[in-house]
């Protein structure tokens, strides 16, 4: 299937709605890499991501008539992929086997406080980062994938996620805070002190210490 760069996304979608059997495929091919990145980084599993992406594209094909044009077509497509990915995460969580996540946690914890064996190995860094992403709740993971990994402006990420920019910022902030201790070993000259209070979904403004190393917030 060859691409038709002279047609806009809107024109391709219009052709699809008028019965052009190739138009939607063209639309998909035009944006396939970004859509794949969203699915893969959100699910952290190539097979799950492939299934989610295919389901999302089939769903978009079937429901294209419902697209009202109140967002960019790419936003609409990304939203469908994100929702399909998050649905899979939720279904997996409902039948959770924690072995994979526990192993990832143990691996990262064992490396905490020591520099990476080969700091220049970008593949090691990528593996550690994607392993750490698995530890985040789905909503925080999706927000960080869009904003920090794929470079979406907060407003665009909010449109994809169907929420407000403030909520996206909050999810990103909490997600980054959770990742700090698990990615410490990737920093040059990492210290040996544990940072405090990186976890938790609800951080209360309190002076009460949570544990020996964490202290209250200002």
């Amino acid at each position: 299937m060859e691409s038709q760069p002279d047609l806009t996304d809107a024109e391709l979608l219009d052709r699809h709605l008028r019965g052009d059997g190739e138009a939607f495929g063209q639309l998909f091919l035009r944006h396939k890499d970004r859509l794949w990145a969203v699915a893969l980084r959100t699910l952290c599993d190539p097979e799950e991501a492939a299934d989610a992406l295919q389901d999302a594209m089939v769903s978009a094909f079937r429901s294209a008539r419902d697209f009202r044009g109140d967002s960019a077509i790419t936003t609409w497509l990304h939203r469908i992929v994100v929702n399909a990915s998050l649905d899979r995460l939720r279904r997996k969580a409902a039948h959770a086997t924690t072995t994979g996540d526990e192993q990832a946690l143990e691996l990262l914890a064992s490396q905490s406080g020591t520099p990476a064996a080969d700091p220049a190995s970008s593949r090691d860094v990528s593996l550690d980062v994607t392993a750490a992403l698995r530890l985040l709740p789905p909503q925080q993971r999706a927000a960080l994938v869009l904003v920090d990994m794929l470079g979406y402006p907060v407003a665009d990420a909010a449109a994809v996620l169907g929420t407000s920019p403030g909520t996206v910022k909050s999810r990103c902030a909490r997600g980054r805070a959770r990742l700090v201790p698990y990615l410490r070993h990737l920093r040059e000259g990492a210290g040996t002190e544990a940072e405090g209070g990186a976890g938790g979904t609800e951080d209360t403004d309190t002076d009460e210490p949570r544990n020996r190393t964490a202290t209250g917030s200002v």
Binding site: G25, C172, R187, E193, D203, S217, V218
Partner: protein, 299 residues
């Protein structure tokens, strides 16, 4: 006071950096950061996390996956039919159905479909006396005929159950339902052609539990038989072609389905496969069976 010595919680610090904390609390955090090496280290950690995430290379979709998805979309496009429900209805002659009434091995609950508002409006329009009874009768007969046709096909597939073993080849009925198998040549509705099973697409959102799913499927079959629903019928889909073929074969274990429908299950796209008195709901990628049910009317 303990408060001014307290360090900044990492999550609070992260929110502060996003501008989500304001007022006096923000001032306190700013003042604390100016003099706390530990919290400055946490801030550096947050910056580092963002940089690490941004540095992960953006993946390129594997060619095989791109091909797989485009094939799935091409199959969806191929399944979009030019045949409208009106065309189906014109082929489903009531005169043809009457002789089948007595031969129908099964009947469905006609009255429940009459109440399925929005799908079979023409049947639910007020009728008087014999007209209403006739509508009831024809609905049941049409649905029974469809199931009977499906059952007829299954009965004649033989032990292998494989379409390839059908010497008669794929057959299409005049009335709409597809039958196949060696005995199909003698079926009154059998017409040489293609498409050994009916594929439709609709916006139906099927739902659990299994009993509800089964009722929805039976309504769908009845509406389809009478041709008043919103489904689009695809007559060009060949059981030997594409991913749908292998999925259907896997689910039905080689038996010819009564109906394959592109719809939704709990608001997610799903393929509905009806066969031998059962229904299986599968993901479009056929990677998982989402639900199963037995139809009260049986095979």
């Amino acid at each position: 006071m303990r408060r001014h010595r307290a360090h900044v919680d990492a999550a609070a610090l992260a929110e502060f950096r996003e501008g989500l904390i304001g007022g006096r609390r923000a001032v306190r955090i700013q003042e604390h950061l100016a003099g706390c090496e530990r919290c400055a280290g946490i801030e550096a950690g947050l910056t580092r996390v963002t940089a690490l995430l941004a540095a992960v290379p953006q993946p390129v979709m594997p060619d095989g996956l791109a091909r797989q998805v485009t094939e799935a979309l091409a199959a969806e496009a191929a399944a979009r039919s030019r045949l409208s429900p009106r065309d189906l209805r014109s082929r489903l002659s009531l005169r043809d159905l009457r002789p089948r009434l007595s031969a129908a091995p099964h009947t469905l609950n006609g009255h429940s479909r009459l109440r399925y508002a929005g799908r079979i409006r023409r049947i639910t329009e007020p009728l008087r006396g014999r007209g209403r009874l006739a509508a009831l009768g024809f609905t049941s007969a049409a649905a029974a005929c469809l199931l009977a046709a499906g059952g007829y096909a299954l009965a004649h597939l033989g032990p292998s159950g494989s379409p390839a073993s059908s010497a008669a080849g794929p057959i299409r009925t005049k009335a709409g339902p597809m039958v196949t198998g060696p005995g199909a040549r003698n079926h009154p509705y059998a017409v040489p052609g293609t498409t050994p099973f009916m594929v439709v697409s609709s916006r139906t959102d099927y739902r659990p539990p299994p009993s509800h799913l089964a009722r929805q499927v039976e309504r769908e079959l009845a509406v389809l038989a009478f041709g008043t629903g919103q489904q689009t019928v695809h007559r060009d889909y060949n059981i030997r072609a594409g991913a749908l073929d292998s999925c259907v074969k896997r689910v039905t274990r080689g038996a010819t389905p009564t109906l394959v429908e592109f719809a939704h299950y709990e608001k997610q796209p799903a393929d509905i496969i009806v066969y031998a008195g059962h229904v299986s709901v599968v993901e479009p990628s056929c990677t998982a069976v989402l639900a199963r049910a037995s139809l009260p009317s049986g095979p």
